[in-house]
Symmetry: C2
Subunit: 375 residues, 2 copies
Amino acid sequence: MFSFRVVKSNGKARLGVLTTPHGAIETPVFMPVGTQGTVKAILHKDLLDIGTQIILGNTYHLYLRPGIEVIRDAGGLHSFIGWQKPILTDSGGFQVFSLSKGRGDGRSKVKVKDEGVEFRDHLAGDLHFFTPERVIEIQEVFGSDIIMPLDECVEYPTTHAYAKIALERTIKWLDRSIRAKKREDQVLFGIVQGAFFEDLRIESALKTVERNLFGYAIGGLSVGEPKEVMYTMAEVVCNILPWEKPRYLMGVGMPEDIIEAVARGVDMFDCVAPTRMARTGTLFTSQGKINIRNEKYKKDYSPPDPDCDCYTCKNFTKAYLRHLFNVEEISAYILNTIHNLRFYHKLMENIREAIREDRFEEFRHSWHKVYNLQA
Amino acid sequence: MFSFRVVKSNGKARLGVLTTPHGAIETPVFMPVGTQGTVKAILHKDLLDIGTQIILGNTYHLYLRPGIEVIRDAGGLHSFIGWQKPILTDSGGFQVFSLSKGRGDGRSKVKVKDEGVEFRDHLAGDLHFFTPERVIEIQEVFGSDIIMPLDECVEYPTTHAYAKIALERTIKWLDRSIRAKKREDQVLFGIVQGAFFEDLRIESALKTVERNLFGYAIGGLSVGEPKEVMYTMAEVVCNILPWEKPRYLMGVGMPEDIIEAVARGVDMFDCVAPTRMARTGTLFTSQGKINIRNEKYKKDYSPPDPDCDCYTCKNFTKAYLRHLFNVEEISAYILNTIHNLRFYHKLMENIREAIREDRFEEFRHSWHKVYNLQA
């Protein structure tokens, strides 16, 4: 039902195929974030048009709204949202730690205990308790293809001592998650933590790999640390992870981060950047990032990216997109989102093609040269 | 370059073909409102998918933003917005009277003079002066297929005396518009005014028809008067308008209004209802209107309208659309808009088919029966 195969490699960069009950995915892959059962400002059919292979759903948000009963009675998440390709859901842990903390009304403390995490949601402020078992149970209701165990994310910066406590708790929670898991049409990844300390990343990677999971995620990065730290942590971990299993770098990232992580052996990515930035007018192009609000585009009747094959670039000009954005038309957000996600998917296609043709290093260097020159 | 032909009729209801330089339009037709160069919350390609034949642009809004220079340098409105099918633009008069009045800061007076209309815009409050000549000039820059002359809209209710003044001014402005018009790849409609008085509607219709225009619009209705008054005014005017010319009832309306106006001989319609109501969660269905926010749809896994062939109804459930709307996802507005506009276009297709098959009266009565039963 599930398999992963490394088809080819260039140094540490790998071309692979991940097979799920909802179809096969070519890796390296970028997964658009469909927080609340939809990728923001784009329809499923447009996702399919631009080459989306798998989307990510946020357990925290879906658990709160519409709630698991509505999803269960619909026959699971695929059926509820009308998306028949693969879905990966996270554990909700990251949102518990980031969104609940942000309430700032004195009731906002997240209480991490060995048993689980107690938190108040960011909406009504109701009290909830997530345990590793509960998080698996919720994702079994969803029926997502790839599920994640509850883990403890620590902030940047943090102490070595606290990072070690969180790492150990994450491993214990992983063991409970493995025991709780029942469905056989889903696979569980292990999440490597260890914050920004090489020794802890190594310890976490070794212990997680001992559990022999289908795939491995690298969590706790892209939370404010310097890029070099992120790259080093990803490298340290990838050097330990078994070659024949998929690796997923959670919450990463900018195009340059993706290329650097692929160079270190990562296969899967997710990030809100292309969708969120689309809604503030930033477009990724083959020449660097541009902001469509810029006055200089007022009469620029060329497409955002002449090298792009998306609906937006094939049919519309910067001047028109600027106008739509300035007058706050919803179509501005849709068109920008189509373009940015297509840019990401095309980047992944180019990465895969480069690996297939034994020229990933060449691609990597020329890409940085062009992109950084303009950005 | 332009022609209009009544292909068939059932009583006063007519099936026609309106040919323009950007293609032919089957009438009766509904024109989605693309206020600022885009129909709200839907992409052009989705408009084409659901059978949109022509869109309407608002001269007032486009004149303010992006401004006529940007549109001129793009090569006109079709080119600027990337829409290759026909476009009708209004004169801006209606927005001048409604939006400028609404400013409520003491500077908001609209000054109607015989020369033209002085107004402050609803954005920065800058002073502008629209004359019949200026309004034609702006629309010649746009290059819209069908253009409208500046007219004076009066409120409901109004006095017979004022309605007569406005009517006479509208005729004088029409004569100036005819003289100002230069481009031959556009046609000008005359707008019949006369408020809610049969004698004035007759006078306005007779005088407007004397000018021998390509088509005739019925303005100043759907501004708060009872439906029966609107139907009567449309009927009085249609009885005078020449059979072989297209008739356009501006700003109308609800599905039942469209059917009643077709029964009286109207060929063209525009209204913000389907798009605006989509964004507040109201969906038109073959069984009446529903609001998707309703608690009773929480676990309703059936499509909004099982008889509808749109992307939304073919792929999604009320429960999912309700969820998307509740969590304020943009895709809720897109999916609702696709459905509502498809509902309108399908209604027009059904009307045309009924006329073609000599059963319009039957269609009209059965439609009211089903729709009013549930609505």
